[in-house]
Amino acid sequence: MSIFVRFWGTRGSIPTPGHKTRTFGGNTSCVELRIDESLFICDGGTGLRELGVELGSKNQQGLEVHMFFSHTHWDHIQGFPFFLPAYAKQNSLIVYDVGKDDDRVHRLLKGQMQTDYFPVNFSELGAKIRSAFLQFEPQLIDGVRVAAFEQAHPGRSFAYSFEKNGTKIVYATDNELDATLLNRDESLRDRRLLRQIPEAFVRFVAGADLLIADGQYTDEEYPGKVGWGHARAKTAVDLAVQAKVKQCAIFHHDPMHADELVDHMIQDCRERAAEFGSDVLIFGAREGLTLKL
């Protein structure tokens, strides 16, 4: 079995190209999971465009792509109209929604391709694009056990877990973990306290080989961003510690954060994990990085 995870877009909110973000990257959310021969894509931010170019360059015929969207805010769908495999007749895209018969993702992918927004209409895409529905109970897709979990984010968002032969990856971005903490008020007063994550989410993430987690804000920034739907990076660390994950990629970097600041945040996160006696490996998700699990 082989599992490759590649980060095509790691930035939150809006693309931020430029020399200040060169290391971690300026494209918005997109992660490719290649599990044996199956292709799973998490989110269609602007990073999706380059993934499409890469897939096109390999000249593969009859691609089947399983697409999961945390939600439909711009920074998670804007790459879709530029995703070249969507234009090729021989390809199939399966767009997953969570919940019975709620094809919101599919509808909004179509909606953003109306003439007012984009020159090519969704109906002109050549690929076979169909909706599929995930329930909250895990289901098998190409032999991969996939499950969803509703997160704290304005307008809803979902985390996804992918598991095969004992290897587990959790993609959990756009999640204001801090709003869900069992000791929320205390943890805002005393930042050193372990931030207690609700048990159901800890179980969902438990034992992951890789957790990709929203860690957009510093502790200092967060009080001015409450309700915006994102977590303190150190809260993502506390999730990783409590769920006993092996590696945690801090994801959805703030567009105002230059590479140096993200580096500092990651160092602080590593120190925090060590303070809690955890050996979880924390790193900053970085565009172009590929892990083999």
């Binding site: 490996l281 790193f283 970085r286 565009e287 172009g288 990085l289 892990l291």
Partner: protein, 128 residues
């Protein structure tokens, strides 16, 4: 020399000059190349200049950067140039490749990155 009537001011044609400056063929050869500074492992300290589009690092004497360490594979990693950048890729080595302490399969290298294979440690210095 005085301009003749109706002659255009040549300084206004500058865009062609700017365009030429941006795409000078061969400019890469005169630029400062990227370097892998070896700071740990057999032979350190020393610098390995990256001047080919593809370079292999390993224990074999037949690779571009050969390092006599029993902890690295004969062909351990590949460095590949793409435009002004280098990317590194693990060639299914026995002990893997670590970028800034994280075991990775491949990555685009950035100034100051630490790359470790076995007991060999490099710092990447980006060319200009």
């Amino acid at each position: 020399m005085p301009k003749s009537p109706g002659e255009k001011d040549r300084t206004l044609d500058a865009p062609t000059v700017i365009g030429a400056a941006r795409v000078q063929p061969g400019a890469r050869q005169t630029a400062k190349p990227s370097v892998l500074q070896q700071i740990g492992g057999p032979g350190a300290p020393r610098d390995h200049r990256l001047d080919l589009d593809e370079m292999i690092v390993g224990r074999s004497v037949q690779v571009h950067i050969s390092i006599d360490s029993g902890l690295i594979s004969r062909r351990h990693i590949m460095l590949r140039r793409s435009g002004p950048e280098y990317a590194c890729e693990d060639l299914d080595s026995s002990n893997g490749m670590y970028l800034n302490g994280v075991k990775v399969h491949s990555a685009t290298l950035r100034e100051g990155d630490t790359l470790q294979i076995g007991d060999v440690v490099f710092v990447f210095r980006e060319g200009r």
